[in-house]
């Protein structure tokens, strides 16, 4: 494993929705080895901690990484101020385990809200063999639909209020999809409540499932042990660390905290 820390130029910056930014970073040596499900740790001026941002898409030819993030607090707010053409300081690629895609032919790829961006890199792996289900609060929050279609995936959009796509949750759409086809694997990233339900459904249908988790991080590389998440490892409970042991875990490993 090799971690790189450096300052790279932002080739393009867009706003995809309210408070949701899209940056393409030129960093060939990182793009070369980055995998779907991994993340970059971004330095933000004036803040003690870096901000972990999942990788949305990887372009080895162009040597670029694409990240899509939401302004959630002062740190991501400051991060959103970095302009096109300016340099962004990142440590990457991080995440000991991304999505394991190679051994599978067909997949259902699920993203909830700001958990949707990392699923694009996965969809791009499966092309027409992938079915993407993404869910958002409402039409105004919808992102990346054209990108999923461009990746070749069957693309199903859901919104809580029905203002775009189907009204309802991604889990409803998932059941509908499973009623007509059985993928080899389900990949998901989103709120805990969504992941729990997805894992249940996958289990009921006896389908392998991988989920990407989130936790407040410190070093981002597995040394400080702050981003703990409860998992089962060889039978007994183990506090794995999202940054190093994840962020992607097999469904059967995950134990959600009662929060």
């Amino acid at each position: 494993m090799k971690y790189t820390q450096g300052r790279y130029i932002i080739l393009s910056k867009k706003t995809l929705a309210k408070e949701i930014y899209d940056m393409t970073i030129l960093c060939p040596e990182i793009a070369e080895i980055a995998k779907a499900g991994q993340f970059v740790n971004v330095k933000v001026n004036g803040f003690t901690l870096r901000r972990p941002i999942s990788i949305c898409s990887i372009d080895r030819e162009k040597g670029t990484l694409r990240i899509v993030f939401e302004v959630r607090g002062e740190g991501t707010k400051e991060m959103s101020q970095i302009a096109e053409g300016e340099l962004i300081d990142i440590v990457a690629p991080l995440g000991g385990r991304g999505f394991k895609v190679d051994q599978f032919e067909t997949a259902v790829i699920i993203g909830g809200g700001i958990g949707t961006p990392p699923m694009l890199a996965v969809a791009e792996k499966f092309g027409e063999k992938g079915t993407v289900i993404s869910g958002f609060r409402n039409a105004a929050a919808v992102i990346l639909q054209e990108d999923f279609k461009a990746a070749g995936a069957e693309t199903i959009l859901c919104t809580d209020d029905g203002s775009a796509g189907k009204k309802g949750f991604v889990t409803d759409a998932l059941k509908e999809v499973l009623s007509r086809k059985k993928p080899e694997v389900i990949f998901a990233c989103g709120p805990d409540v969504m992941l729990r339900r997805v894992i249940e459904i996958a289990k009921e249908n006896n389908i392998k499932c991988q989920v990407s988790l989130e936790e407040r991080m410190g070093c981002g590389v597995g040394a400080c042990l702050v981003c703990a998440c409860r998992t089962i490892r060889n039978g007994d409970e183990y506090y794995a660390h999202v940054c190093k042991d994840g962020p992607v875990f097999n469904a059967e490993e995950v134990l959600f905290d009662e929060r």
Binding site: K43, T48, R50
Partner: protein, 304 residues
């Protein structure tokens, strides 16, 4: 690299005084993906207990102005795993290895020290100031009696250099330093983290699941410098300074206050290369100031 940064600290030779702090560097495996550990003066490993510990429930970290709170709670694989798996690997890295140990009881401290006695560990740092565990930890570190008792037990269990890691959450840290010196400690390291709290005003819950946690980062640096100055004036044994160091200038300041070596913690989270950049800065400082050895500045602050 010249040897102008070298120092014999508590009988152990360090190639330079820059040591990643316990808890920030695991057992070194992760940072090897950035640079060779042989660049470092030494490594203070993750606080290790008698048996495996899972630590506290997450969230375990919160950001604060120029600092951070953590409440990991000594998650570690236990001393046997350290000796069998981690230490052999660390000993191949050509740097000083400091075993940081902690226990819930005096006996646990003794057992760990005994197990380390016949290993290749260069030095033992005894954590009597962890703010994030219920039993033991800071409980021993906040009274002279408690600190002295653990020092005595570890001292009796090993001939290796013993460094007691002191808590800043006390009325008089100099008295506690004197107490551990009297029981035979070879050195003291300070400061551990200041106890702090952060509340999410939307959820009305503490951000840390442990409710409170240890404050570190540049925010606490002035408190660390003050305590290092007080302690180095109160005891004869050498002092390892830590607490909010993020630049080579901070190391120079900490050394002028009385520290012979230093530990770097939170700074590595924003810049994994911080220790190397600091070492480079110290190299330049030594040559620009025509010093034969950086140790010449230790304790040279001139009070008013």
């Amino acid at each position: 690299m010249s040897d102008k940064l070298s120092v014999n600290f508590a009988g152990v030779d360090f190639k330079n005084p820059v040591i990643p702090a316990s808890g920030a560097f695991g057992y070194g495996r992760e940072y090897e993906n950035f640079y060779p550990l042989s660049n470092l003066g030494g490594i203070s490993v993750k606080g290790t207990t008698g048996t495996k510990r899972n630590g506290n429930l997450p969230p375990r970290i919160a950001e604060t102005p120029s600092g951070m709170l953590n409440s990991v709670g000594l998650q570690n694989p236990g001393i046997d795993h350290f000796i069998k798996i981690e230490l052999p690997n660390l000993k191949t890295k050509d740097t000083v290895i400091i075993a940081n140990i902690a226990g819930s009881t005096a006996d646990e401290y003794r057992e760990i020290a005994e197990k380390l006695e016949n290993t290749d560990v260069d030095m033992i740092e005894v954590n009597i100031s962890c703010p994030n565990v219920k039993a033991g930890g800071a409980a021993f570190g906040v009274t002279c009696e408690g600190a002295a008792s653990i020092t005595k037990i570890v001292r009796a269990a090993t001939r290796k250099p013993v460094m007691m890691k002191l808590s800043p959450n006390v009325t008089n840290i100099a008295e506690i330093a004197k107490a551990v010196e009297a029981e035979g400690a070879d050195a003291v390291s300070l400061i551990n983290t200041l106890l702090g709290m952060k509340i999410d005003i939307k959820t009305r819950r503490p951000v840390l699941h442990n409710n409170v946690g240890g404050l570190s980062g540049p925010a606490v640096f002035p408190v660390a410098v003050r305590m290092v100055w007080q302690v180095s004036n109160a005891v004869k044994i050498p002092v390892c300074g830590m607490g909010g160091i993020s630049r080579w200038q901070d190391v120079v300041e900490m050394m002028m206050a009385g520290a012979q070596v230093v530990q770097i913690g939170a700074a590595m989270f924003s810049d994994p290369f911080a220790p190397l950049k600091i070492i480079e800065g110290l190299e330049n400082y030594v040559s620009e100031n025509d010093l034969n050895n950086l140790q010449e500045i230790v304790g040279t602050v001139i009070p008013w």
